[in-house]
């Protein structure tokens, strides 16, 4: 557990200083842990666990958009679990449950495998539809078609800077819409 969290902190430090591959690896590494915790939280609240993926995506978006609040001298796991706990409580509240989420839900869980096949489109995907056309196109190109920023810029005859801005704004407005729903 310690070792795993030490590794996360290292990856996040590299990520903050601009190492995109480290960041990708970090997000891949935390997703199963978040998934297991979300399932456990849902189960405890008597909710169907197949909604866990929505919560995982919500947490990942928050981690991404709030990563500047992480202090690079502090360990990463407490920061992550605080965000995850906040999002999980939020999600359960939106589903009409008053719940107590134990921080240990996050610290002690073993990674959970992704559901074999996500049958229904996720909440994130549903909100994607309502974004302004340009943000949506950029997100679609990068997320679904796995295009790079450069390719996306070429495809829509935008500058790379404009693609970056649209991507960031798209992720931010996705989060805002998820919160308001």
């Amino acid at each position: 557990m310690r070792e795993r969290e030490g590794e996360w902190t290292g990856l996040m430090r590299s990520a903050i200083s601009g190492d995109g591959a480290a960041y990708h690896r970090l997000l891949k590494a935390i997703a199963p842990v978040l998934r297991a915790a979300a399932r456990r939280g849902l189960a405890r609240a008597g909710q169907p666990v197949d909604q866990a993926e929505d919560i995982v995506q919500d947490i990942l978006l928050a981690v991404h958009l709030k990563r500047h609040t992480w202090d690079a001298n502090a360990p990463f796991a407490p920061w992550l679990f605080a965000i995850a706990r906040n999002k999980l409580i939020d999600a359960l509240r939106r589903r009409g449950r008053r719940v107590f989420v134990n921080i240990d839900d996050f610290a002690e869980t073993l990674p959970g495998e992704a559901a074999a096949e996500t049958v229904s489109a996720s909440e994130v995907a549903a909100q994607l539809e309502s974004l302004p056309a340009r943000q949506r196109a950029v997100l679609q190109s990068i997320a679904v078609d796995s295009a790079s920023i450069k390719d996306t810029a070429a495809k829509y005859s935008m500058s790379e800077g404009a693609v970056r801005v649209a991507l960031h704004r798209g992720l931010a407005s996705l989060t805002a819409r998820l919160r308001e729903q």
Binding site: L61, A62, K66, D71, I142, R179
Partner: protein, 213 residues
Amino acid sequence: MRMDTDQLIRTLAADNTRARPVGFVLALALLAAAPVSLLMFFTELGVRPDVMTAMRNPFFDLKFAVTLALATSAILVSLHLSRPEASMRGWGWLFMIPAGLLVAGISSEMMMPQRLPMMTRLVGQNSRVCMSAIPAMSLPLLAAALIALRHGAPTRPALAGAIAGLLSAGIAATFYASHCTDDSPLFVVTWYTIATALVTAIGALAGSRVLRF
């Protein structure tokens, strides 16, 4: 359109926009809002005419020490609370600085011979202005602080909002102190505190709504 978690992760990793630190954003927001409060101050109140002589009165100067200590402590605590894992543990004592200064002021005033009785000093002449001017001048600052703190990730939004209220009341009270002719720490501890409590409550209420993330 579908987006599974792996696709989302890939997308997040592609977004390398650097966000500015919360402290920087808060500084900008307060610098933008301060002129609005100052405009209110100079159109409605203005600096007291005898300010040059007043500055030689330690109790006049003490007002600024108290309000600035409050504003500074609140800025530090609100930046701390903008981190999701933060708690108040080890930070609450900062507010003992303005409180302690006030207590020290009250006790030293008690030890000096006074022209006016205690209640007269406490009630003063400007209590009503004090209680309306400090909250009014706080509001632009509070709004700015809340907007800036939305940039952070406070997991206790009502508390973070309350601290933003203290912060803005501390700055507004600093402006107000240069207008007010009541310098007794007894006046300050009563009316400034009521005004500050009001702004803090507004901040907590607003924070619990707008500081969720």
